[in-house]
Symmetry: C2
Subunit: 155 residues, 2 copies
Amino acid sequence: MSNDGSMNDHDLLALAIEQAELGLSEGGIPIGGVLAADGEVLGAGHNQRVQLGSAIRHGETDALENAGRLPASTYAKATMYTTLSPCHMCTGAILLYGIKRVVIGENETFMGAEDLLREHGVEVINLNSSRCKEMMNDFIAAHPSLWNEDIGEED
Amino acid sequence: MSNDGSMNDHDLLALAIEQAELGLSEGGIPIGGVLAADGEVLGAGHNQRVQLGSAIRHGETDALENAGRLPASTYAKATMYTTLSPCHMCTGAILLYGIKRVVIGENETFMGAEDLLREHGVEVINLNSSRCKEMMNDFIAAHPSLWNEDIGEED
């Protein structure tokens, strides 16, 4: 917490990690996302491939969906927190809505389209979370086919 | 129809237009999408911002969601049909899943991230549909705020 009681980047990434852990407890892929502005959560979510059979609800897009319809002015001051470097779809969603700041847990188990975010002026901050890496390393080792499906790779 | 009875690009775009018209009849934004492979429909959908309060179900992503979980090998031979040039989010979804061909109705009322698709080797074909342009021109004139919200623009 900051001195004024609002949540900082580490607090908000911790909420994204809670979302990933919730997904894991449901039998899903452990990736979570939180959309926040001014230190307050607008929406939180996690990958729903297993739970809902979804092809489009990744951590970030599920957070956007749960945040609901928002004006451009809200996205413009928002930060997307995600436990894992954003894939092309989630990167595109961030660009569509003009989100200017992305805080990620890690990019060692999967490198997303961070370069594209930066090319469009989005600030990308990697908090290098050992918990995020551990969750994904364990999950990928246990369920390689499911992971490949989620990132559109041949098995 | 082709001589063998399978649907060609014009037939499949016509199905995407039907989806857009269905969306319009529901009070929604008239953009539709169809994911198809080997001349057969894998999933069809339309923008659900109004109907479901959705921030992530555009024409293309709703088609992907309705197609359900598919292996990379299926996406690799699929074409995405969409009534409108794909925004950054839908472009990212196409790139994530390795869809190699996109057929659009038009790109005059909105120019999406077609350059990014082409940079990644995706073939983009514009069928220049007057019906698609008419639907979007009429909709944008009648509901400019809703349209701006859907493309993440300030009102």
